[in-house]
């Protein structure tokens, strides 16, 4: 297993790393298909700031996917200009342009006849990287998306689960380190728990890399969770609202947005509050390979009847009760522990807790490093406080 130091990685939270993305501007972009009177996209103007995630949402047929595909020229606009980092996208051939833009679509869309490593290497190969550099980069990317390179490098897509395929899809999109990444319903084809994990991982990766990510989704909750900004589109790609998620929820621009965001927007606030805003609790930890007796003594001294097992990379692997500990040394544990990224929302936290035997969730930071534990009570009391604060504001006004 090769762990390569990524120059852009940083152990502190996001704001420390440098923006590697580029600004995208759309000016009066229109797409009219021949033989159709109504334009699919009608003079759309938009600035997507460098290093941000912008979510395109809207009902089906609103032109969100068309708008996305015009950025990498899979669809050529009828009129208007699109620039990336100040350069007109038409200043180069479409193929050259696309090699500098990551493209991730639903299900990962991996080529079934190529191994994981070959799939990831496609763009670097076209760019003429040498074999050593490609191998190094592939392993680095697999690490980044939490797949062990030694285990997964030579597998074929059909030997992977849906979530793993999607991870490889993301790694492939990042392969040549493009400043801009386009995603089309990237997590549409996986189950809800896997989707939540993949979303958390994407946020964690984005904290390290600070790319400009444009992502199409039909799921407003996903948009609220992932987006630094949300672009809500009406038919003909008419901009209904383009703003931060908080602003969209707090003051929808019109009835269409209000309807689309839906009722229960106070519940949706749960999707806005990140775990990072809560106080995490300490729980005794033990390393894989450590003598069981020592770990047990430490946990008991701290007054706990359980502990969290961490591996060499500080990643939590299991959360056993002390009575479940067997053998001379601590082992990884069989259970598939569901971790919460600290950028996950309270909504996700509640979901995860429901499936946990501890009524709590393990919170992890960058590259799945262990941070602490969040208890069900912590979440509910936080919500109560917020409600009280809101009520006070209301009576004060």
């Amino acid at each position: 297993m090769t762990v390569t130091d990524d120059p852009t990685s940083s152990s502190t939270s996001g704001s420390g790393s440098e923006i590697s993305g580029a600004e995208i501007r759309l000016e009066e972009v229109t797409k009219t298909y021949p033989g159709q009177e109504v334009s699919a996209v009608k003079s759309l103007s938009l600035t997507i700031p460098a290093g941000e995630i912008v979510m395109f949402v809207g009902p089906s047929g609103c032109g969100k996917t068309t708008s996305l595909k015009m950025i990498n020229r899979l669809i050529e606009p009828t009129s208007g200009t699109i620039t990336i980092g100040g350069d007109d996208v038409r200043s180069r051939s479409a193929d050259e342009l696309r090699r500098t833009i990551g493209y991730v679509i639903q299900g990962g869309s991996l080529f079934p006849h190529m191994t994981v490593a070959k799939n990831i290497a496609i763009v670097p190969k076209m760019l003429g990287w040498d074999a050593d550099r490609i191998r190094q980069r592939t392993d680095e990317l697999l690490e980044l998306v939490s797949l062990d390179p030694a285990r997964y490098r030579d597998r074929y897509p059909r030997e992977l689960s849906g979530g793993q395929q999607q991870r490889v899809g993301v790694a492939r999109g990042l392969a040549a380190d493009p400043p801009v990444i386009l995603m089309d319903e990237p997590f549409g084809a996986v189950d809800p728990i896997t989707r939540q994990r993949l979303q958390d991982e994407l946020l964690s990766i984005q904290r390290e890399l600070r790319k400009t990510i444009v992502c199409v989704t039909h799921d407003i909750d996903e948009a609220i969770k992932l987006g630094d900004r949300i672009l809500i589109l009406q038919e003909g790609a008419e901009v209904a609202q383009y703003d931060a998620p908080e602003a969209v929820l707090a003051s929808p621009a019109n009835d269409f947005v209000a309807d689309f965001v839906g009722a229960g927007s106070s519940l949706k606030q749960l999707s806005l509050t990140r775990i990072a805003e809560l106080d995490l609790s300490e729980v005794p930890t033990a390393r894989v390979g450590e003598p069981t007796a020592e770990a047990r003594a430490r946990a008991q001294a701290a007054g706990h009847d359980h502990l969290i097992v961490l591996d060499d990379h500080d990643r939590p692997t299991a959360w056993p009760w002390l009575r479940q500990l067997k053998g001379e040394t601590i082992h990884r544990g069989e259970e598939d522990l569901v971790n919460l990224d600290h950028r996950a929302t309270l909504n996700d936290a509640l979901d995860t807790m429901l499936t946990s035997s501890h009524g709590a969730a393990v919170v992890t930071g960058d590259r799945d490093r262990y941070l602490g534990v969040v208890w069900f009570d912590t979440v509910t009391s936080f919500m109560r406080q917020q409600q009280e604060a809101l009520a006070e504001e209301g009576s004060g006004a």
Binding site: L74, E96, I105, Q106, F111, M114, I122, M126, R158
Partner: protein, 213 residues
């Protein structure tokens, strides 16, 4: 009959070589043409029914008739035989190539384009490899058919066991007539089996593990 075979061994091996070579050439040329037409056809969806119709009509054309039709054009000789066998070799490959190429998931093609692969690269690295198992199945059918057609093409002096089969048939009731027909036919069957085994092995080697059934 064994004695008959031993007496004519040098001739036998020459015929076997001729027959196999004729089929090999015809199938290789047929595959190239068939796949090329399929690539064009799948790019122009309007052409697909036309191609299917032509291949249906082509396959119903009796090979003996085609031999007759070719005679005034290309004369007597191995070239006529090659043209005739190749003509039939094209269709099964073409049909399967059309089906195989159409079966490649459109999102995979778009994904490849989205990563900056040119049209030729998409064809070479994505579409053809994914359609290959189906194309190869077409090549196997085509090879079996070509071995039969090649026997008939002996009528225009094409190389192969057709020569013995026709010799036997024209002198039926004669001393060695049965031996000529029987050995010629059996030899063609053996060649067919050998070719099929080779193609099966080729599939093992060339079909990527990720899509092997």
């Amino acid at each position: 009959m064994w004695q008959f075979f031993l007496d004519r061994q040098p001739q036998f091996w020459a015929l076997a070589y001729g027959h196999a070579l004729l089929v090999l050439l015809a199938v290789v040329i047929g595959t190239v043409i068939g796949v090329a037409v399929a690539v064009v056809v799948t790019r122009q969806p309007r052409l697909a029914p036309v191609a299917n119709a032509i291949s249906s009509i082509g396959l119903t054309l009796p090979s003996f008739a085609l031999v007759g039709l070719l005679l005034p054009l290309t004369g007597i000789g191995p070239i006529s035989a090659l043209i005739c066998v190749t003509f039939y070799a094209i269709f099964p490959v073409m049909r399967n190539a059309v089906v195989g190429l159409q079966g490649v998931d459109a999102t995979l093609v778009e994904s490849a384009r989205g990563m900056g692969m040119g049209q030729v690269a998409v064809l070479r690295k994505v579409q053809l490899p994914l359609a290959w198992p189906v194309i190869l199945a077409g090549i196997r059918v085509s090879t079996q058919m070509s071995i039969g057609v090649a026997a008939i093409a002996a009528y225009v002096l094409g190389p192969g066991f057709g020569a013995w089969i026709f010799t036997g048939l024209t002198q039926i009731g004669g001393v060695n007539a049965e031996a000529y027909v029987l050995i010629g036919t059996l030899a063609a069957v053996v060649i067919a089996l050998v070719f099929d085994l080779v193609l099966l092995a080729l599939g093992r080697v060339t079909i990527p593990k990720g899509i092997r059934a």
